[in-house]
């Protein structure tokens, strides 16, 4: 009995110890950053127009990327969740790929596919659009690297809704689209919103793919890098700290959504 108790204490200590180490690795850098630069960073919001413009650009392009992905990705997520997607294995692998390749490589791939020298780039330029050096390019880069997060989260949210709800709706006269829209969409709603918030948060923090396509105008990740390389750590500290503080907003939204996610009949 005493040996059981001793083993339990050792196991508990190991689990707690491992958790503390990991949480320290994650938390200490953020805490140091906010402690050293948080106050000055918040003051910068009022006095630094370039920072404000960069924040607005980042939020706007990430929002555009997220909205497009929600529009295009939700039907795909539904097909995957319901097992109706031909070649689902290949599609899933394709969706995982942007998460695995280095992001500068993603930017280079986008440059080759949509840059000025490409057929798509030429077509875009004929209608006055360009990927390189534009907010459109920023949104495209953000979409490329973070859309898989939305589709994956949306797929899980839809899969958690029992398909028989849709089946019943169809026997009551709904087409497959109407059943998904009137029944599955509201039941999966919080999960879909959470997936969109995750995607948005990821898009906002994207650097590698964005910097290849568009150095100017600067999103906040590129602005931080630019200030660090041009002026050093002290210059970038307030910017970095305020970005961490602002990241608390999507985090708080996510926490509140996840606390209320429930599916199916209670």
């Amino acid at each position: 009995m005493a040996r059981e108790g001793e083993r339990y204490r050792v196991a508990t200590t190991l689990v707690v110890g491992a958790s503390v180490v990991l949480l320290a690795v994650l938390g200490v850098p953020v805490a140091v950053l906010v402690a050293l630069g948080g106050k000055a960073g918040l003051a910068l919001l009022a006095t630094d127009p370039a920072l404000r413009a960069s924040l607005a650009l980042t939020a706007g392009t990430a929002t555009a990327a997220t909205l497009v992905t929600v529009l295009l990705g939700t039907p795909l997520a539904w097909l995957l969740a319901r097992g109706r997607m031909p070649g689902a294995t290949v599609v899933s692998a394709l969706l995982d790929l942007p998460l695995l390749i280095p992001h500068p490589v993603a930017g280079i791939a986008l440059l080759l596919a949509f840059g000025r020298a490409s057929p798509a780039g030429e077509a875009l330029s004929r209608v006055g659009l360009a990927i390189v050096g534009s907010p459109l390019g920023i949104s495209l880069a953000m979409l490329f690297v973070s859309a898989p997060l939305y589709v994956s989260g949306a797929r899980e949210a839809i899969a958690r809704v029992d398909e028989r709800y849709e089946s019943v709706a169809r026997t009551l006269g709904d087409t497959p689209f109407l059943a998904a829209w009137r029944v599955t969409r509201p039941l999966a709603g919080r999960g879909l919103l959470a997936a969109a918030v995750v995607m948005w948060a990821r898009a906002v923090s994207e650097f590698g793919a964005v910097v290849i396509l568009t150095y100017n105008p600067k999103v906040v990740s590129v602005l931080s890098y630019d200030r660090f390389t041009s002026y050093g750590l002290n210059a970038v500290l307030p910017v970095a700290a305020v970005l961490v503080i602002l990241a608390l907003v999507p985090l708080a939204i996510l926490r509140s959504l996840r606390g209320h996610i429930a599916f199916g009949e209670p």
């Binding site: 028989r164 709800y165 089946s167 709706a169 026997t171 209670p266």
Partner: protein, 210 residues
């Protein structure tokens, strides 16, 4: 009328094999069998929710095998009800109904109107089944598929609602196919389809014998 001809269905690792039976128009048929025999799979195939690998489903004498559920003009009530949790009871009952007055009348007959201002989450299992039944009947189907619709009801309510359903069945000539474990219900049925491990054991048309 509900007819299955040589129906075979693959549902994951389970399969229905060569099922054939007829429930004449306006008759009441039951499907019996142990758990896992394929009773719900059979109902879902008739409803068009599952696709058959082979064979034909006919409703009203017309092949419907390739028709989607929304074009088969039938109602289905699962044992769990599957009420839409984001809608009120009233909205659930009226979901597919084109005649709001008729939907309300059906709800009244099945005592679902007393639950109208309740949220689905607050309903008991029996109350859910009552609302699910009203919802299916509110669309005026002439074919009704029931998957143990009275299982969660207490004895008194079960008798009351079964009597009401029987009355409606006679009034409107609805063809009913019901999954049941209740031997009493099975004994009184005009057609009995016994399944075991996905195969037909017996298919008896008592109306033909009478």
């Amino acid at each position: 009328m509900i007819e299955a001809r040589n129906l075979s269905v693959q549902a994951g690792s389970f399969a229905l094999h060569d099922i054939s039976f007829v429930v004449p128009r306006g008759a009441w048929g039951v499907v019996t069998g142990p758990a896992g025999a394929g009773k719900t799979t059979l109902l879902e195939t008739i409803a068009g929710i599952r696709h058959s690998a082979q064979g034909i489903v006919l409703l009203r004498g017309v092949p419907v095998t390739h028709l989607p559920p929304e074009q088969r003009r039938l109602g289905i009530v699962y044992q769990r009800g599957f009420l839409f949790p984001h809608l009120s009871v009233a909205a659930n009952v009226a979901y597919g109904a084109s005649d709001a007055d008729y939907a309300r009348e059906i709800a009244r007959r099945f005592e679902a109107d007393r639950l109208y201002d309740r949220r689905v989450a607050t309903l008991s299992g029996g109350e859910r089944q009552v609302v699910a039944l009203a919802r299916a009947l509110a669309t005026k189907p002439d074919v009704l598929l029931l998957d143990e619709p009275f299982a969660a009801l207490d004895q008194a309510r079960r008798i009351r609602l079964r009597d009401e359903l029987c009355a409606l069945h006679r009034e409107l000539g609805i063809t009913v196919l019901q999954v049941t474990h209740d031997l009493g219900e099975a004994e009184g049925a005009e057609v009995r389809v016994d399944l075991q491990e996905g195969r037909l054991v017996t298919g008896t048309d008592r109306s033909a014998q009478a």
